[in-house]
Symmetry: C2
Subunit: 300 residues, 2 copies
DNA sequence: TATAAACCATAACTTACGGTTATGGAAACC
DNA sequence: GGTTTCCATAACCGTAAGTTATGGTTTATA
Protein backbone atom coordinates (compact mmCIF):
# COMPACT_ATOMS: atom_id res chain seq x y z
CA UNK A 1 0.00 0.00 0.00
CA UNK A 2 2.32 2.66 -1.32
CA UNK A 3 1.52 5.48 1.00
CA UNK A 4 3.73 8.45 0.53
CA UNK A 5 2.93 11.16 3.00
CA UNK A 6 3.99 11.29 6.61
CA UNK A 7 0.93 10.20 8.53
CA UNK A 8 2.09 11.92 11.68
CA UNK A 9 1.68 15.27 10.01
CA UNK A 10 -2.04 14.58 9.94
CA UNK A 11 -2.11 14.79 13.73
CA UNK A 12 -0.72 18.30 13.53
CA UNK A 13 -3.06 19.13 10.69
CA UNK A 14 -6.05 17.94 12.66
CA UNK A 15 -5.19 20.00 15.69
CA UNK A 16 -4.51 23.14 13.70
CA UNK A 17 -7.70 22.66 11.71
CA UNK A 18 -9.88 22.29 14.76
CA UNK A 19 -8.20 24.99 16.83
CA UNK A 20 -7.92 27.38 13.89
CA UNK A 21 -4.76 28.86 15.27
CA UNK A 22 -1.21 27.64 14.86
CA UNK A 23 0.04 29.10 18.11
CA UNK A 24 -2.73 27.50 20.17
CA UNK A 25 -2.34 24.23 18.31
CA UNK A 26 1.34 24.25 19.24
CA UNK A 27 0.42 24.60 22.89
CA UNK A 28 -2.06 21.79 22.62
CA UNK A 29 0.53 19.57 20.97
CA UNK A 30 3.21 20.53 23.47
CA UNK A 31 5.58 21.61 20.75
CA UNK A 32 6.76 25.03 19.62
CA UNK A 33 4.88 27.24 17.21
CA UNK A 34 7.56 27.17 14.51
CA UNK A 35 7.46 23.37 14.61
CA UNK A 36 3.77 23.45 13.80
CA UNK A 37 4.24 26.07 11.09
CA UNK A 38 6.89 23.89 9.53
CA UNK A 39 4.84 20.74 9.81
CA UNK A 40 1.90 22.33 8.01
CA UNK A 41 4.21 23.65 5.34
CA UNK A 42 5.78 20.29 4.65
CA UNK A 43 2.35 18.68 4.58
CA UNK A 44 1.22 21.27 2.08
CA UNK A 45 4.22 20.75 -0.15
CA UNK A 46 3.92 16.98 0.12
CA UNK A 47 0.27 17.10 -0.84
CA UNK A 48 0.93 19.71 -3.46
CA UNK A 49 -1.73 22.18 -2.38
CA UNK A 50 -2.67 24.79 0.17
CA UNK A 51 -4.50 23.67 3.30
CA UNK A 52 -4.89 26.84 5.28
CA UNK A 53 -5.38 30.51 4.61
CA UNK A 54 -3.25 32.48 7.00
CA UNK A 55 -4.90 35.52 8.49
CA UNK A 56 -3.83 37.76 11.28
CA UNK A 57 -6.48 36.23 13.51
CA UNK A 58 -5.36 32.68 12.89
CA UNK A 59 -5.75 30.20 10.08
CA UNK A 60 -8.79 28.87 8.28
CA UNK A 61 -9.11 25.81 6.12
CA UNK A 62 -9.28 26.08 2.37
CA UNK A 63 -12.10 24.20 0.70
CA UNK A 64 -9.68 21.43 -0.15
CA UNK A 65 -8.42 21.47 3.41
CA UNK A 66 -11.97 20.96 4.63
CA UNK A 67 -12.32 17.95 2.40
CA UNK A 68 -9.05 16.55 3.66
CA UNK A 69 -10.06 17.08 7.26
CA UNK A 70 -12.95 14.67 6.92
CA UNK A 71 -10.58 11.93 5.82
CA UNK A 72 -8.09 12.80 8.51
CA UNK A 73 -10.77 12.56 11.18
CA UNK A 74 -11.48 9.03 10.05
CA UNK A 75 -7.82 8.15 10.02
CA UNK A 76 -7.22 9.41 13.52
CA UNK A 77 -10.30 7.88 15.09
CA UNK A 78 -9.47 4.56 13.50
CA UNK A 79 -5.93 4.83 14.85
CA UNK A 80 -7.33 5.55 18.27
CA UNK A 81 -9.69 2.59 18.00
CA UNK A 82 -6.79 0.37 17.00
CA UNK A 83 -4.80 1.40 20.02
CA UNK A 84 -7.71 0.94 22.37
CA UNK A 85 -8.59 -2.44 21.01
CA UNK A 86 -5.05 -3.74 21.16
CA UNK A 87 -4.70 -2.37 24.63
CA UNK A 88 -7.78 -4.04 25.98
CA UNK A 89 -6.70 -7.32 24.46
CA UNK A 90 -3.30 -7.05 26.09
CA UNK A 91 -4.73 -5.86 29.37
CA UNK A 92 -7.10 -8.83 29.25
CA UNK A 93 -10.09 -6.55 29.45
CA UNK A 94 -11.64 -8.57 26.69
CA UNK A 95 -10.98 -11.76 24.83
CA UNK A 96 -11.90 -15.39 24.69
CA UNK A 97 -10.24 -18.64 25.59
CA UNK A 98 -11.48 -21.85 24.03
CA UNK A 99 -10.29 -24.95 25.82
CA UNK A 100 -10.80 -28.52 24.76
CA UNK A 101 -10.78 -31.05 27.58
CA UNK A 102 -12.64 -34.10 28.80
CA UNK A 103 -15.35 -33.59 31.37
CA UNK A 104 -13.14 -35.26 33.96
CA UNK A 105 -10.14 -33.07 33.30
CA UNK A 106 -12.38 -30.03 33.23
CA UNK A 107 -13.98 -30.84 36.52
CA UNK A 108 -11.05 -32.14 38.49
CA UNK A 109 -8.13 -30.29 37.00
CA UNK A 110 -9.19 -27.13 35.16
CA UNK A 111 -11.94 -25.94 37.45
CA UNK A 112 -9.73 -24.22 40.04
CA UNK A 113 -7.61 -22.54 37.36
CA UNK A 114 -10.68 -21.27 35.57
CA UNK A 115 -12.03 -19.91 38.80
CA UNK A 116 -8.77 -18.16 39.58
CA UNK A 117 -8.39 -16.77 36.07
CA UNK A 118 -11.94 -15.57 35.97
CA UNK A 119 -11.46 -13.78 39.24
CA UNK A 120 -8.41 -11.98 37.85
CA UNK A 121 -9.86 -11.23 34.41
CA UNK A 122 -13.64 -11.33 34.64
CA UNK A 123 -14.16 -10.05 31.10
CA UNK A 124 -12.40 -12.90 29.38
CA UNK A 125 -14.88 -15.44 28.08
CA UNK A 126 -13.92 -19.03 28.70
CA UNK A 127 -15.44 -21.68 26.50
CA UNK A 128 -14.89 -25.33 27.27
CA UNK A 129 -15.52 -28.11 24.80
CA UNK A 130 -15.97 -31.55 26.35
CA UNK A 131 -15.46 -34.39 23.93
CA UNK A 132 -13.44 -37.48 23.39
CA UNK A 133 -9.77 -36.74 22.84
CA UNK A 134 -9.94 -37.84 19.19
CA UNK A 135 -12.62 -35.27 18.51
CA UNK A 136 -10.85 -32.63 20.49
CA UNK A 137 -7.79 -33.08 18.35
CA UNK A 138 -9.72 -32.42 15.19
CA UNK A 139 -11.36 -29.43 16.89
CA UNK A 140 -7.89 -28.11 17.59
CA UNK A 141 -6.77 -28.67 14.01
CA UNK A 142 -9.88 -26.94 12.70
CA UNK A 143 -9.34 -23.96 14.95
CA UNK A 144 -12.45 -24.50 17.04
CA UNK A 145 -10.43 -24.53 20.24
CA UNK A 146 -7.23 -22.76 21.24
CA UNK A 147 -5.63 -25.65 23.08
CA UNK A 148 -6.37 -28.99 24.73
CA UNK A 149 -5.71 -30.29 28.16
CA UNK A 150 -5.60 -34.04 27.91
CA UNK A 151 -3.99 -37.25 29.06
CA UNK A 152 -0.73 -38.14 27.38
CA UNK A 153 0.54 -39.68 25.27
CA UNK A 154 -1.54 -38.46 22.39
CA UNK A 155 -0.44 -40.11 19.21
CA UNK A 156 -0.13 -38.35 15.85
CA UNK A 157 1.14 -35.22 17.44
CA UNK A 158 3.60 -34.22 14.75
CA UNK A 159 1.84 -30.93 14.10
CA UNK A 160 1.37 -30.18 17.77
CA UNK A 161 3.31 -28.94 20.72
CA UNK A 162 2.82 -30.72 24.02
CA UNK A 163 3.66 -29.37 27.43
CA UNK A 164 3.27 -31.56 30.49
CA UNK A 165 1.25 -29.80 33.13
CA UNK A 166 0.56 -32.48 35.71
CA UNK A 167 1.36 -36.06 36.71
CA UNK A 168 -1.49 -38.52 37.00
CA UNK A 169 -1.53 -41.66 39.09
CA UNK A 170 -3.94 -44.46 38.26
CA UNK A 171 -4.84 -47.07 40.74
CA UNK A 172 -7.45 -49.64 41.80
CA UNK A 173 -9.92 -48.52 44.38
CA UNK A 174 -12.93 -50.05 45.97
CA UNK A 175 -15.69 -49.38 48.45
CA UNK A 176 -15.92 -51.19 51.76
CA UNK A 177 -19.37 -52.20 50.72
CA UNK A 178 -17.79 -54.47 48.14
CA UNK A 179 -14.57 -55.48 49.82
CA UNK A 180 -13.61 -55.15 53.45
CA UNK A 181 -10.43 -53.17 53.92
CA UNK A 182 -7.45 -55.41 54.53
CA UNK A 183 -3.75 -54.73 55.00
CA UNK A 184 -2.78 -56.77 52.00
CA UNK A 185 -0.75 -56.57 48.82
CA UNK A 186 -2.73 -57.67 45.79
CA UNK A 187 -1.37 -59.30 42.69
CA UNK A 188 -3.02 -58.54 39.41
CA UNK A 189 -4.54 -61.96 39.21
CA UNK A 190 -6.07 -61.53 42.63
CA UNK A 191 -7.60 -58.27 41.44
CA UNK A 192 -9.01 -59.92 38.39
CA UNK A 193 -10.90 -62.43 40.50
CA UNK A 194 -13.15 -59.50 41.36
CA UNK A 195 -15.58 -57.50 39.30
CA UNK A 196 -13.73 -54.68 37.50
CA UNK A 197 -15.33 -51.31 36.84
CA UNK A 198 -13.65 -49.13 34.27
CA UNK A 199 -14.25 -46.76 31.41
CA UNK A 200 -15.44 -48.03 28.09
CA UNK A 201 -13.23 -47.78 25.04
CA UNK A 202 -12.20 -45.55 23.42
CA UNK A 203 -10.66 -43.53 26.19
CA UNK A 204 -7.13 -42.63 27.11
CA UNK A 205 -7.51 -44.00 30.57
CA UNK A 206 -8.89 -47.31 29.34
CA UNK A 207 -6.15 -47.55 26.72
CA UNK A 208 -3.59 -47.04 29.46
CA UNK A 209 -5.21 -49.76 31.53
CA UNK A 210 -5.31 -52.17 28.59
CA UNK A 211 -1.67 -51.52 27.95
CA UNK A 212 -0.78 -52.06 31.59
CA UNK A 213 -2.59 -55.38 31.58
CA UNK A 214 -1.07 -56.49 28.34
CA UNK A 215 2.46 -55.68 29.48
CA UNK A 216 1.77 -57.94 32.43
CA UNK A 217 0.69 -60.69 30.08
CA UNK A 218 -2.98 -60.40 30.73
CA UNK A 219 -5.74 -60.20 28.17
CA UNK A 220 -8.59 -58.87 30.19
CA UNK A 221 -12.24 -58.09 29.94
CA UNK A 222 -13.85 -55.79 32.50
CA UNK A 223 -17.18 -56.65 34.04
CA UNK A 224 -18.64 -53.16 34.01
CA UNK A 225 -17.73 -50.65 31.32
CA UNK A 226 -18.89 -47.06 31.56
CA UNK A 227 -18.54 -44.21 29.12
CA UNK A 228 -18.48 -41.44 31.68
CA UNK A 229 -15.55 -41.46 34.05
CA UNK A 230 -17.67 -39.72 36.63
CA UNK A 231 -19.90 -42.75 36.84
CA UNK A 232 -17.00 -45.11 37.36
CA UNK A 233 -16.43 -43.77 40.86
CA UNK A 234 -20.16 -43.77 41.48
CA UNK A 235 -20.41 -47.44 40.60
CA UNK A 236 -17.42 -48.16 42.74
CA UNK A 237 -18.91 -46.24 45.64
CA UNK A 238 -22.13 -48.21 45.23
CA UNK A 239 -20.11 -51.41 45.64
CA UNK A 240 -20.23 -52.87 42.16
CA UNK A 241 -16.61 -53.91 42.21
CA UNK A 242 -13.01 -52.74 42.00
CA UNK A 243 -12.65 -49.57 39.96
CA UNK A 244 -9.72 -48.43 37.91
CA UNK A 245 -9.42 -44.74 38.74
CA UNK A 246 -7.07 -41.80 38.60
CA UNK A 247 -6.18 -40.69 42.09
CA UNK A 248 -6.05 -37.00 41.18
CA UNK A 249 -9.58 -37.24 39.84
CA UNK A 250 -11.02 -39.05 42.85
CA UNK A 251 -9.54 -37.08 45.67
CA UNK A 252 -12.81 -36.54 47.50
CA UNK A 253 -13.82 -40.16 47.50
CA UNK A 254 -10.42 -41.30 48.67
CA UNK A 255 -10.14 -38.66 51.35
CA UNK A 256 -13.65 -39.24 52.68
CA UNK A 257 -13.06 -42.96 52.78
CA UNK A 258 -15.92 -43.74 50.45
CA UNK A 259 -13.30 -45.49 48.39
CA UNK A 260 -9.96 -46.81 49.43
CA UNK A 261 -6.96 -47.66 47.35
CA UNK A 262 -5.79 -51.22 46.95
CA UNK A 263 -2.12 -51.95 47.20
CA UNK A 264 -1.53 -53.68 43.88
CA UNK A 265 1.75 -54.90 42.35
CA UNK A 266 3.12 -54.07 39.91
CA UNK A 267 2.31 -50.43 40.42
CA UNK A 268 0.56 -48.70 37.54
CA UNK A 269 2.96 -46.39 35.80
CA UNK A 270 2.69 -42.66 36.17
CA UNK A 271 0.83 -40.85 33.40
CA UNK A 272 0.95 -37.21 32.35
CA UNK A 273 -1.58 -34.51 31.66
CA UNK A 274 -0.52 -32.18 28.89
CA UNK A 275 -1.39 -28.93 27.21
CA UNK A 276 -1.61 -29.48 23.48
CA UNK A 277 -1.34 -26.61 21.01
CA UNK A 278 -1.05 -26.44 17.27
CA UNK A 279 2.52 -25.97 16.04
CA UNK A 280 3.18 -22.75 14.08
CA UNK A 281 0.14 -20.99 15.41
CA UNK A 282 0.25 -18.72 18.38
CA UNK A 283 -2.19 -18.67 21.23
CA UNK A 284 -4.03 -15.43 21.72
CA UNK A 285 -2.77 -13.43 24.65
CA UNK A 286 -5.55 -14.44 27.02
CA UNK A 287 -5.04 -18.12 26.27
CA UNK A 288 -1.30 -17.88 26.70
CA UNK A 289 -1.85 -16.20 30.05
CA UNK A 290 -4.14 -19.00 31.09
CA UNK A 291 -1.58 -21.62 30.11
CA UNK A 292 1.01 -19.67 32.04
CA UNK A 293 -1.21 -19.85 35.09
CA UNK A 294 -1.47 -23.63 34.82
CA UNK A 295 2.22 -24.10 34.27
CA UNK A 296 3.17 -21.90 37.19
CA UNK A 297 2.23 -24.77 39.50
CA UNK A 298 4.34 -27.41 37.82
CA UNK A 299 7.43 -25.23 37.62
CA UNK A 300 7.87 -25.30 41.39
CA UNK B 1 -7.43 13.60 19.51
CA UNK B 2 -4.58 12.46 21.70
CA UNK B 3 -2.98 9.89 19.52
CA UNK B 4 0.20 8.52 20.93
CA UNK B 5 1.80 6.07 18.58
CA UNK B 6 3.81 6.86 15.48
CA UNK B 7 1.38 6.32 12.62
CA UNK B 8 4.19 5.79 10.14
CA UNK B 9 5.14 2.58 11.92
CA UNK B 10 1.81 1.18 10.78
CA UNK B 11 3.00 1.33 7.20
CA UNK B 12 5.93 -0.90 8.11
CA UNK B 13 3.66 -3.13 10.16
CA UNK B 14 1.27 -3.52 7.27
CA UNK B 15 3.97 -4.50 4.84
CA UNK B 16 5.56 -6.98 7.21
CA UNK B 17 2.19 -8.46 8.08
CA UNK B 18 1.18 -9.01 4.47
CA UNK B 19 4.58 -10.20 3.27
CA UNK B 20 5.17 -12.34 6.35
CA UNK B 21 8.87 -11.79 6.12
CA UNK B 22 10.91 -8.92 7.52
CA UNK B 23 13.67 -9.16 4.93
CA UNK B 24 11.27 -9.07 1.99
CA UNK B 25 9.25 -6.30 3.60
CA UNK B 26 12.44 -4.28 3.86
CA UNK B 27 13.03 -4.68 0.14
CA UNK B 28 9.48 -3.64 -0.59
CA UNK B 29 9.84 -0.58 1.60
CA UNK B 30 13.25 0.29 0.15
CA UNK B 31 14.85 0.35 3.55
CA UNK B 32 17.27 -2.00 5.24
CA UNK B 33 16.22 -5.12 7.11
CA UNK B 34 17.47 -3.91 10.51
CA UNK B 35 15.40 -0.75 10.07
CA UNK B 36 12.29 -2.86 9.70
CA UNK B 37 13.22 -5.07 12.63
CA UNK B 38 13.71 -2.00 14.74
CA UNK B 39 10.47 -0.39 13.57
CA UNK B 40 8.46 -3.45 14.51
CA UNK B 41 10.16 -3.59 17.86
CA UNK B 42 9.41 0.01 18.69
CA UNK B 43 5.83 -0.45 17.57
CA UNK B 44 5.53 -3.47 19.81
CA UNK B 45 6.94 -1.66 22.80
CA UNK B 46 4.79 1.39 22.13
CA UNK B 47 1.67 -0.73 21.93
CA UNK B 48 2.79 -2.85 24.83
CA UNK B 49 2.33 -6.22 23.20
CA UNK B 50 3.75 -8.69 20.74
CA UNK B 51 2.64 -8.41 17.12
CA UNK B 52 4.65 -11.12 15.42
CA UNK B 53 6.00 -14.51 16.22
CA UNK B 54 9.46 -14.82 14.76
CA UNK B 55 10.21 -18.11 13.10
CA UNK B 56 13.11 -19.16 10.97
CA UNK B 57 10.85 -19.06 7.92
CA UNK B 58 9.72 -15.50 8.54
CA UNK B 59 7.23 -13.93 10.87
CA UNK B 60 3.56 -14.60 11.54
CA UNK B 61 1.02 -12.39 13.23
CA UNK B 62 -0.12 -13.07 16.74
CA UNK B 63 -3.87 -13.12 17.28
CA UNK B 64 -3.69 -9.57 18.58
CA UNK B 65 -1.57 -8.60 15.60
CA UNK B 66 -4.27 -9.96 13.32
CA UNK B 67 -6.84 -7.81 15.05
CA UNK B 68 -4.60 -4.78 14.74
CA UNK B 69 -4.01 -5.44 11.07
CA UNK B 70 -7.69 -4.96 10.30
CA UNK B 71 -7.62 -1.51 11.82
CA UNK B 72 -4.36 -0.66 10.11
CA UNK B 73 -5.78 -1.64 6.75
CA UNK B 74 -8.58 0.84 7.29
CA UNK B 75 -6.17 3.55 8.34
CA UNK B 76 -3.95 3.12 5.32
CA UNK B 77 -6.72 2.89 2.75
CA UNK B 78 -8.31 6.00 4.21
CA UNK B 79 -4.98 7.77 4.04
CA UNK B 80 -4.64 6.75 0.42
CA UNK B 81 -8.16 7.95 -0.29
CA UNK B 82 -7.37 11.26 1.32
CA UNK B 83 -4.31 11.72 -0.84
CA UNK B 84 -6.14 10.79 -3.99
CA UNK B 85 -9.06 13.04 -3.26
CA UNK B 86 -6.90 16.01 -2.47
CA UNK B 87 -4.83 15.37 -5.53
CA UNK B 88 -7.74 15.26 -7.89
CA UNK B 89 -9.08 18.46 -6.41
CA UNK B 90 -5.77 20.18 -6.91
CA UNK B 91 -5.27 18.71 -10.34
CA UNK B 92 -8.75 19.96 -11.22
CA UNK B 93 -9.85 16.47 -12.09
CA UNK B 94 -12.99 17.11 -10.12
CA UNK B 95 -14.72 20.01 -8.47
CA UNK B 96 -17.42 22.59 -8.93
CA UNK B 97 -17.54 26.29 -9.57
CA UNK B 98 -20.68 28.23 -8.77
CA UNK B 99 -20.81 31.65 -10.38
CA UNK B 100 -23.40 34.32 -9.87
CA UNK B 101 -23.85 36.74 -12.76
CA UNK B 102 -26.55 38.47 -14.76
CA UNK B 103 -27.66 36.84 -17.97
CA UNK B 104 -25.96 39.64 -19.90
CA UNK B 105 -22.64 39.29 -18.17
CA UNK B 106 -22.88 35.52 -18.49
CA UNK B 107 -23.58 35.66 -22.17
CA UNK B 108 -21.32 38.48 -23.28
CA UNK B 109 -18.48 38.32 -20.82
CA UNK B 110 -18.22 34.93 -19.11
CA UNK B 111 -19.09 32.65 -21.99
CA UNK B 112 -15.65 32.56 -23.63
CA UNK B 113 -13.89 32.04 -20.30
CA UNK B 114 -16.23 29.20 -19.41
CA UNK B 115 -15.60 27.62 -22.79
CA UNK B 116 -11.84 27.91 -22.37
CA UNK B 117 -11.89 26.64 -18.79
CA UNK B 118 -14.12 23.75 -19.65
CA UNK B 119 -11.81 22.75 -22.44
CA UNK B 120 -8.85 22.70 -20.06
CA UNK B 121 -10.65 21.01 -17.17
CA UNK B 122 -13.64 19.14 -18.54
CA UNK B 123 -14.45 17.46 -15.23
CA UNK B 124 -15.08 20.64 -13.32
CA UNK B 125 -18.77 21.37 -13.05
CA UNK B 126 -19.71 24.97 -13.68
CA UNK B 127 -22.97 26.24 -12.28
CA UNK B 128 -24.22 29.69 -13.19
CA UNK B 129 -26.92 31.51 -11.28
CA UNK B 130 -28.61 34.34 -13.20
CA UNK B 131 -30.42 36.80 -11.01
CA UNK B 132 -30.60 40.45 -10.17
CA UNK B 133 -27.45 41.68 -8.46
CA UNK B 134 -29.30 42.20 -5.18
CA UNK B 135 -30.29 38.57 -5.09
CA UNK B 136 -26.87 37.40 -6.20
CA UNK B 137 -25.34 39.20 -3.28
CA UNK B 138 -27.50 37.36 -0.82
CA UNK B 139 -26.72 34.12 -2.64
CA UNK B 140 -23.06 34.86 -2.13
CA UNK B 141 -23.57 35.64 1.54
CA UNK B 142 -25.53 32.43 2.00
CA UNK B 143 -22.86 30.39 0.30
CA UNK B 144 -24.98 29.38 -2.68
CA UNK B 145 -22.40 30.73 -5.11
CA UNK B 146 -18.63 30.98 -4.92
CA UNK B 147 -18.29 34.45 -6.43
CA UNK B 148 -20.13 37.02 -8.52
CA UNK B 149 -19.23 38.78 -11.71
CA UNK B 150 -21.17 41.99 -11.76
CA UNK B 151 -21.20 45.68 -12.66
CA UNK B 152 -19.59 47.98 -10.16
CA UNK B 153 -20.05 49.77 -7.89
CA UNK B 154 -21.97 47.40 -5.70
CA UNK B 155 -22.96 49.08 -2.47
CA UNK B 156 -22.83 47.43 0.94
CA UNK B 157 -19.68 45.59 0.08
CA UNK B 158 -18.00 45.81 3.45
CA UNK B 159 -17.89 42.07 3.86
CA UNK B 160 -16.74 41.50 0.30
CA UNK B 161 -13.63 41.70 -1.78
CA UNK B 162 -13.93 43.23 -5.22
CA UNK B 163 -11.50 42.85 -8.07
CA UNK B 164 -12.00 44.76 -11.28
CA UNK B 165 -11.89 42.42 -14.24
CA UNK B 166 -13.04 44.59 -17.16
CA UNK B 167 -13.95 48.12 -18.18
CA UNK B 168 -17.43 48.74 -19.53
CA UNK B 169 -18.45 51.57 -21.83
CA UNK B 170 -22.07 52.62 -21.98
CA UNK B 171 -23.36 54.59 -24.88
CA UNK B 172 -26.46 55.53 -26.88
CA UNK B 173 -27.10 53.47 -29.97
CA UNK B 174 -29.82 53.35 -32.54
CA UNK B 175 -30.94 51.55 -35.65
CA UNK B 176 -31.04 53.27 -39.04
CA UNK B 177 -34.66 52.26 -39.15
CA UNK B 178 -35.36 54.81 -36.46
CA UNK B 179 -32.79 57.47 -37.17
CA UNK B 180 -30.72 57.97 -40.32
CA UNK B 181 -27.00 57.98 -39.63
CA UNK B 182 -25.58 61.47 -39.52
CA UNK B 183 -22.12 62.78 -38.75
CA UNK B 184 -23.29 64.83 -35.84
CA UNK B 185 -22.53 65.42 -32.16
CA UNK B 186 -25.62 65.09 -29.98
CA UNK B 187 -26.30 66.98 -26.76
CA UNK B 188 -28.20 65.18 -24.07
CA UNK B 189 -31.26 67.31 -24.66
CA UNK B 190 -31.23 66.41 -28.33
CA UNK B 191 -31.13 62.76 -27.40
CA UNK B 192 -34.05 63.17 -25.06
CA UNK B 193 -36.21 64.50 -27.83
CA UNK B 194 -36.27 60.91 -29.07
CA UNK B 195 -37.82 57.79 -27.64
CA UNK B 196 -35.43 56.19 -25.13
CA UNK B 197 -35.17 52.43 -24.69
CA UNK B 198 -33.45 51.21 -21.53
CA UNK B 199 -33.58 48.65 -18.77
CA UNK B 200 -36.22 48.82 -16.08
CA UNK B 201 -35.23 49.48 -12.49
CA UNK B 202 -33.74 48.00 -10.47
CA UNK B 203 -30.63 47.31 -12.45
CA UNK B 204 -27.07 48.46 -12.20
CA UNK B 205 -27.05 49.77 -15.73
CA UNK B 206 -30.23 51.73 -15.25
CA UNK B 207 -28.96 53.13 -11.97
CA UNK B 208 -25.82 54.26 -13.76
CA UNK B 209 -27.88 55.91 -16.46
CA UNK B 210 -30.09 57.67 -13.93
CA UNK B 211 -27.03 58.94 -12.13
CA UNK B 212 -25.50 60.18 -15.37
CA UNK B 213 -28.67 62.07 -16.24
CA UNK B 214 -28.99 63.51 -12.79
CA UNK B 215 -25.38 64.74 -12.75
CA UNK B 216 -26.22 66.57 -15.95
CA UNK B 217 -29.21 68.18 -14.28
CA UNK B 218 -31.80 66.06 -15.97
CA UNK B 219 -34.69 64.25 -14.33
CA UNK B 220 -35.66 61.81 -17.01
CA UNK B 221 -38.29 59.24 -17.78
CA UNK B 222 -37.61 56.66 -20.51
CA UNK B 223 -40.23 55.79 -23.02
CA UNK B 224 -39.63 52.05 -23.16
CA UNK B 225 -38.37 50.14 -20.09
CA UNK B 226 -37.43 46.53 -20.37
CA UNK B 227 -36.40 44.06 -17.67
CA UNK B 228 -34.15 41.98 -19.83
CA UNK B 229 -31.09 43.70 -21.20
CA UNK B 230 -31.12 41.33 -24.15
CA UNK B 231 -34.41 42.77 -25.30
CA UNK B 232 -33.13 46.35 -25.11
CA UNK B 233 -30.93 45.78 -28.15
CA UNK B 234 -33.74 43.89 -29.86
CA UNK B 235 -36.11 46.82 -29.42
CA UNK B 236 -33.43 49.19 -30.66
CA UNK B 237 -32.76 46.98 -33.67
CA UNK B 238 -36.46 46.99 -34.40
CA UNK B 239 -36.38 50.78 -34.49
CA UNK B 240 -38.27 51.67 -31.35
CA UNK B 241 -35.92 54.44 -30.39
CA UNK B 242 -32.48 55.26 -29.02
CA UNK B 243 -31.16 52.60 -26.69
CA UNK B 244 -28.83 52.96 -23.76
CA UNK B 245 -26.47 50.05 -24.15
CA UNK B 246 -23.11 48.77 -23.04
CA UNK B 247 -20.74 48.56 -25.98
CA UNK B 248 -19.02 45.45 -24.73
CA UNK B 249 -22.37 43.70 -24.55
CA UNK B 250 -23.56 44.73 -28.00
CA UNK B 251 -20.48 44.04 -30.06
CA UNK B 252 -22.26 42.04 -32.72
CA UNK B 253 -24.95 44.59 -33.35
CA UNK B 254 -22.45 47.45 -33.54
CA UNK B 255 -20.05 45.56 -35.79
CA UNK B 256 -22.76 44.36 -38.12
CA UNK B 257 -24.19 47.84 -38.41
CA UNK B 258 -27.58 46.78 -37.09
CA UNK B 259 -27.01 49.47 -34.49
CA UNK B 260 -24.72 52.44 -34.63
CA UNK B 261 -23.37 54.53 -31.80
CA UNK B 262 -24.40 58.14 -31.42
CA UNK B 263 -21.73 60.66 -30.59
CA UNK B 264 -23.20 62.16 -27.47
CA UNK B 265 -21.65 64.75 -25.14
CA UNK B 266 -20.90 64.60 -22.36
CA UNK B 267 -19.53 61.10 -22.75
CA UNK B 268 -20.89 58.48 -20.36
CA UNK B 269 -18.30 57.63 -17.76
CA UNK B 270 -16.48 54.35 -17.86
CA UNK B 271 -17.90 51.61 -15.63
CA UNK B 272 -16.24 48.51 -14.27
CA UNK B 273 -17.06 44.84 -14.16
CA UNK B 274 -15.87 43.16 -10.98
CA UNK B 275 -15.38 39.80 -9.35
CA UNK B 276 -16.97 39.82 -5.95
CA UNK B 277 -16.02 37.33 -3.27
CA UNK B 278 -16.86 37.01 0.39
CA UNK B 279 -14.15 38.36 2.68
CA UNK B 280 -12.53 35.81 5.02
CA UNK B 281 -13.62 32.85 3.00
CA UNK B 282 -11.45 31.23 0.42
CA UNK B 283 -12.48 30.15 -3.01
CA UNK B 284 -12.09 26.51 -3.75
CA UNK B 285 -9.14 25.71 -5.95
CA UNK B 286 -11.17 25.32 -9.14
CA UNK B 287 -12.92 28.63 -8.61
CA UNK B 288 -9.69 30.43 -7.85
CA UNK B 289 -8.22 29.01 -11.05
CA UNK B 290 -11.19 30.28 -12.99
CA UNK B 291 -10.82 33.75 -11.51
CA UNK B 292 -7.15 33.62 -12.38
CA UNK B 293 -8.07 32.90 -15.96
CA UNK B 294 -10.35 35.94 -16.12
CA UNK B 295 -7.80 38.22 -14.51
CA UNK B 296 -5.02 37.09 -16.80
CA UNK B 297 -6.56 39.25 -19.54
CA UNK B 298 -6.77 42.45 -17.56
CA UNK B 299 -3.24 42.19 -16.25
CA UNK B 300 -1.82 42.77 -19.69
C1' DT C 1 27.27 -34.10 7.10
C1' DA C 2 29.40 -30.32 5.65
C1' DT C 3 27.96 -26.11 3.00
C1' DA C 4 25.22 -22.75 1.66
C1' DA C 5 21.22 -20.02 2.09
C1' DA C 6 17.53 -17.72 4.50
C1' DC C 7 16.03 -14.86 8.38
C1' DC C 8 15.98 -12.16 12.35
C1' DA C 9 18.68 -9.72 16.11
C1' DT C 10 22.23 -6.78 17.64
C1' DA C 11 25.85 -3.31 17.65
C1' DA C 12 28.08 0.69 16.24
C1' DC C 13 27.88 4.49 13.50
C1' DT C 14 25.79 8.49 10.47
C1' DT C 15 22.61 11.75 9.28
C1' DA C 16 18.31 13.94 8.19
C1' DC C 17 14.75 15.99 10.17
C1' DG C 18 11.65 17.28 13.91
C1' DG C 19 12.43 19.90 17.31
C1' DT C 20 14.40 24.19 19.61
C1' DT C 21 15.26 29.52 20.56
C1' DA C 22 15.42 34.05 18.74
C1' DT C 23 13.59 37.38 15.91
C1' DG C 24 10.75 39.95 12.61
C1' DG C 25 6.72 41.95 10.38
C1' DA C 26 2.02 42.90 10.01
C1' DA C 27 -2.52 43.35 11.47
C1' DA C 28 -5.77 43.87 15.37
C1' DC C 29 -6.80 45.73 19.81
C1' DC C 30 -7.08 49.13 23.26
C1' DG D 1 0.66 54.85 19.28
C1' DG D 2 1.86 51.29 22.15
C1' DT D 3 0.75 46.49 23.01
C1' DT D 4 -0.66 42.28 21.85
C1' DT D 5 -1.53 38.54 18.72
C1' DC D 6 -0.24 35.74 14.93
C1' DC D 7 2.50 33.47 11.49
C1' DA D 8 7.08 33.15 8.99
C1' DT D 9 11.93 32.71 8.90
C1' DA D 10 16.67 31.68 10.27
C1' DA D 11 20.09 29.30 12.66
C1' DC D 12 21.05 25.81 15.52
C1' DC D 13 20.70 21.17 18.02
C1' DG D 14 19.74 16.30 19.39
C1' DT D 15 17.47 12.34 18.60
C1' DA D 16 15.72 8.67 16.42
C1' DA D 17 15.46 6.52 11.97
C1' DG D 18 18.30 5.14 8.95
C1' DT D 19 22.82 2.85 7.59
C1' DT D 20 26.61 -1.18 7.29
C1' DA D 21 28.62 -5.10 9.38
C1' DT D 22 28.13 -9.15 11.78
C1' DG D 23 26.33 -13.13 14.33
C1' DG D 24 23.39 -17.06 15.47
C1' DT D 25 20.17 -20.40 14.17
C1' DT D 26 17.46 -22.99 11.41
C1' DT D 27 16.34 -24.92 6.83
C1' DA D 28 17.50 -26.39 2.37
C1' DT D 29 21.17 -28.53 -0.78
C1' DA D 30 24.82 -31.17 -2.76
Amino acid sequence: MGNDIDLNLYKVFYTVATVGNITKAAEELYISQPAVTKAIHTLETNLGGVLFIRTKKGVTLTEEGKVLLEYVKNILTEARNAENKFNSLIKLEEGKIRIGASATVSKHFLMPYIAEFHKMYPNIDIEITNELTINLISDLRNGYVDFLVTNLPTKEALDMDITVCAKLHDTFAVSKKYLEKEDKVYTLNEILEHKIVTQKEPSNTRAFLNNYMKSNGIEFKPDIEIVSYGLVTEFAKAGFGIAYITKEFAKEELESGELYELNVVPKVEERELGIVTLKNSALNYAASKFVELILKDIKE
